[in-house]
Symmetry: C2
Subunit: 216 residues, 2 copies
DNA sequence: GAAAACCCGTTACTAGCGGTAACAACAGTC
DNA sequence: GACTGTTGTTACCGCTAGTAACGGGTTTTC
């Protein structure tokens, strides 16, 4: 066989293999949570560790590849909810509900995405690296939402900056509330969605003080 | 010496030792971040591992004790800002600013508090444990803020539930925005505080659509 | 067809982690 | 003096992430 076709075939074969490995890793993470070991993943895929390392470099690489798949999927679902042709409040509620439904349906995946143990922190020399520890998913969602807000909402001067801040803030609100809700299940999903939307809808500003308290 | 006084002295000695160990651990965590090893901590304290384990049980125990100290300190600072005698909006801004100033001043500590690796997950038998992975600090702050809101703000029926939801949501907003800000430093602290307060103050509800977009 | 190049896969290893067992030395109590 | 409890040690276990070195099978090249 001449060069080009052979190389082509090999490349597609490698890609298929890579997909298979990712699916095996997915199964293990779904079963063992975020502390799935490379050994376990290799065993699930029916092979041994060095192959994993040849394909993904290190554990961080595998986890990043895995996270990207799920993040992309979630993000596209959220975009759909965000683009629905209805009123703003309805779209906000739909987006919140989509996110919460996703983490409710596959909590192990969600947990893995949010808590990728410690990876890709290759010794910060000596200067403070300081931040950059939050889950990539959160950052991506925040940036994405910030863009959407900047595109669609009129926030006056400094709109760009404020839109980004709001994007990250709203995503954080959604995430923290969802995480707490997922653990304690203190109420129905509908109620959670409505309460959060109410918060975003300015009910904190409108609410009156309770008697006896000093206000808030 | 009779029994009681001897036991007393030993107890206080043990407590002092414990404090010393925690301070050593603090230094190491401050230097090495959240992945400080038990060996390193023991070395910093001038002793060896088994002593640490006798005092704190396991790594999770040490980390929990360490986290409690910092969490208590941060929480009391936040409570002070939350109890200041001024208008609600001012108090909200002061609280946000207190939190952001704290994480800005000691990012390594903050990082440790928010990202305690994986601890205290003692094999959840077989049922989904599902949640409970978020940092204890976030949970505590959320609960605390929820209580304050429930005490002071009139939210109509279902007030209790909604106050807790808002507590966790607002804390999550603060955390995510703060984390992103700490990494990228896209604006001043004042601006961040004002923007987040604006978000809580209902500006999302009030803002008009931008021309060309389909609203948000 | 033979040889060189290239993967896929293995076994066997390192270094470091959290955690523990077993033992040594010192204190105060009876 | 014997007993008990605490403080400390060394030496180990099982695990992890990651790597070096080697074998066999295909494909390309001469």
């Amino acid at each position: 066989m001449e060069t080009t076709r052979g190389a082509e075939r090999q490349r597609t074969a490698a890609e298929r293999r890579r997909r298979e490995l990712l699916e095996a890793a997915d199964r293990v993470v779904l079963r063992d949570g975020p502390k799935a070991s490379m050994n376990a993943i290799a065993a699930e895929a029916g092979i041994t560790k060095p192959i994993l390392y040849r394909h993904f470099g290190d554990k961080g690489g595998l986890y990043r590849a895995l996270a990207k798949r799920h993040t992309d999927a979630l993000l596209s679902a959220l975009r759909a909810a965000l683009d629905a042709p209805s009123e703003r409040r309805e779209r906000v509620e739909a987006t919140l509900d989509t996110y919460l439904a996703a983490i409710e349906a596959r909590p192990q995946v969600y947990r893995f995405l949010m808590h990728p143990s410690d990876d890709a922190a290759p010794a910060p020399e000596q200067g403070f690296d300081v931040g950059r520890h939050s889950a990539p998913l959160l950052r991506r969602l925040g940036e994405e939402l910030g863009k959407v807000i900047a595109e669609r909402v009129d926030l006056g001067p400094d709109s760009e900056q404020m839109a980004r801040i709001w994007g990250h803030g709203i995503v954080g609100m959604m995430h923290a509330a969802g995480d707490w809700w997922l653990g304690d299940r203190p109420c129905s999903r509908e109620q959670l969605v409505r309460s959060l939307a109410d918060l975003l809808w300015g009910r904190l500003a409108e609410a009156g003080d309770l008697p006896g308290g000093q206000g808030f």
